[in-house]
């Protein structure tokens, strides 16, 4: 139902992002989704990876401040209006979205959403006939 996302705190210093990708490269972790939220002082790097627990331990060992967060990965058709229609349901249900990022893969697209009420979001989406990704599904195609 929910996906575990990995978040890393990064200062705005050159090379910090590559430090993270280097660690993941060394331990053979594969990234499916990647986004960075930034302020003038720091950024939060958010990723969906295949081996999250391994990645978490490795990054911690390298001194990074990391944690996991539960997010919802909504599947929509990769076509005009594909995402919009789904979001209308979410809006109507009064769910607050903290952040989101999306990516398309062939005929489908995944919209990763962090909401204030994750359970309600999942319920609304399934009631509206939408699918959400489960752990491991992103890697399959």
């Amino acid at each position: 139902m929910l996906l575990k996302q990995l978040s890393v705190f990064l200062e705005n210093r050159p090379g910090r992002i590559t430090q993270v990708t280097k660690v993941l490269d060394e331990i053979g972790v594969n990234i499916s989704a990647f986004s960075i939220a930034d302020t003038s002082d720091f950024g939060i790097l958010r990723m969906i990876v295949d081996k999250i627990d391994v990645a978490l331990e490795a990054l911690k060992a390298h001194g990074f401040s990391v944690r996991t967060t539960q997010v919802v990965a909504l599947v929509v058709p990769h076509q005009p209006g594909g995402m919009h229609q789904a979001l209308e349901y979410v809006d109507k249900a009064g769910i607050e979205i903290e952040y989101m990022y999306a990516f398309a893969y062939n005929s489908k697209a995944a919209v990763v959403i962090k909401a204030d009420d994750t359970e309600k979001l999942v319920k609304i989406l399934s009631e509206s006939g939408y699918q959400v990704l489960h752990e491991g599904e992103l890697m399959q195609e």
């Binding site: 200062e11 944690r67 967060t69 962090k114």
Partner: protein, 434 residues
């Protein structure tokens, strides 16, 4: 000009006799009225009758900031609270302010020493004294105000802030004397420039600057930018406020008003006096104070002293050069800041650990304080809003404790150097001592 020739040009033998008498009187008052001191004397096996004069100062117990903290707020008062007519406070080591309690007589003494200070700077009743030191619990504003009033000057109680308005007032009212911190003086000068005002449009002729350390370079800069003669005043809340010592027109050191504040320069470890001219820690005994007289108060300021007669005619001892502090206290925008205060705030907040560093710098003549706080797992939130909210909360807590604002920068874990001994908490990029 000398305000009180009798006191300021006294024959040194006569001065010492006066100091001896006042010290005996003080020791007796402390012994009978202040439990803290009585205990210290008893532990050292000293009776008031044993003390005959200042030669024995070195055998008497010292007082430090911790003692004020331990006896916060009024434990060191030597009179009933009904006799205290004024309270002041300045920053203490961990959130508890340093309290000063004054009787009516203390306020008279304070006005007297500030009057002497102003006259030493060449200020008299014809001057318009613009006081930009903060008014309130801080001793700066009211301290200068009282002294200026005593000499009959025209006082403008401007206090701090509202810089553009202050400049307007300075221009319209024709202020001739500016009293504020040296860094604020430079800030005023820069703001004037921004406003397109030339300093020759003002009537400033003297500046009475203190509450923070400043270099000869800064003095020259202030004088060039404000077209006034910049004079150095020294003081501290624990001893009285501004007016403990002051420069005369020859600017060969700060004259200490020794008839009220008996100075010593001691070795910070042995607490024994060092010869004149040698560097040591400045210690004061405020012998005429009634409300909260402190015996051998350790200022933590490192300096040298001389008793050679000055060309101005004053026989009072002079402090010749400030060389920094023997503790970790910082003065930022005229406010005392102790790194341990930051630590206390961070420890109190459940989201933070006390891994921090203070970066102090001076930009456009204003001191800025940046505090780096390490993010730890407990407080790392995945949402920007939460992180920013936390930084804001830290900032607000620190501001309310320190009294000045700081920029909070969240940094990655282990970014701040750990050390085995005392952690290097402070990086001070300003150049404050010559």
């Amino acid at each position: 000009m000398i305000w009180n020739e009798h006191a300021e040009c006294m024959d040194r033998e006569q001065l010492i006799r006066l100091q001896n008498e006042r010290l005996r009187n003080m020791v007796s008052r402390l012994y009978y009225n202040v439990p803290f001191y009585r205990k210290k004397f008893q532990e050292a096996g000293i009776n008031p009758g044993d003390i005959t004069g200042i030669d024995q100062l070195k055998d008497l117990p010292t007082t430090k900031k911790q003692d004020l903290r331990d006896n916060y707020p009024f434990g060191l008062f030597a009179v009933p609270q009904s006799e205290i007519v004024r309270l002041h406070a300045s920053s203490g080591t961990t959130g508890k302010p340093t309290v000063g309690g004054y009787t009516r007589a203390d306020l008279r003494t304070w006005s007297e020493v500030v009057a002497r200070s102003l006259y030493a700077a060449g200020v008299d009743k014809n001057d318009i004294v613009h006081v930009s030191y903060g008014y309130g619990l801080f001793t700066g504003g009211l301290g200068i105000h009282q002294g200026a009033q005593k000499i009959g000057a025209t006082v403008i109680p401007a206090s701090g802030g509202n810089t553009k308005k202050q400049i307007q007032i300075m221009h319209d009212f024709g202020s001739t004397v500016l009293a504020c911190t040296p860094s604020y003086a430079l800030y005023l000068a820069d703001t004037m420039k921004e406003m397109g005002m030339d300093p020759s449009e003002l009537k400033l002729r003297r500046g009475i600057f203190g509450a923070e350390p400043w270099t000869e370079e800064m003095r020259k800069e202030i004088e060039a930018k404000l077209h006034l003669k910049a004079m150095d005043i020294y003081g501290l809340t624990e001893v009285m406020g501004p007016g403990v010592a002051m420069e005369c027109e020859h600017q060969q050191g700060l004259h200490i008003f020794e008839d009220h504040f008996i100075p010593e320069i001691v070795d910070p470890v042995t607490l024994q006096p060092v010869p004149y001219g040698q560097v040591g820690e400045l210690v004061f005994s405020a012998v005429t104070k009634e409300g909260m007289p402190l015996l051998r108060y350790r200022t933590r300021d490192l300096t040298t002293m001389t008793i050679e007669k000055c060309a101005c005619g004053r026989t009072l001892a002079r402090l010749t050069k400030f060389l920094g502090r023997s503790d970790d206290m910082l003065i930022i925008r005229g406010v005392n800041v102790f790194p341990s205060q930051i630590e206390a705030v961070l420890l109190e907040m459940s989201e933070t650990e006390p891994h921090y560093q203070l970066i102090v710098d001076r930009v456009n003549n204003l001191d800025i304080l940046e505090i780096w706080v390490e993010v730890n797992e407990a407080f790392f939130s995945d949402e920007i809003r939460q992180m920013e909210g936390l930084a804001k909360k830290i900032k607000a807590n620190i501001e309310s404790v320190l009294g000045i604002s700081a920029k909070i920068k969240l940094v990655e874990p282990k970014t701040i150097e750990r050390s085995e001994g005392k952690a290097k908490r402070v990086i001070d990029k300003r150049k404050l001592v010559d």
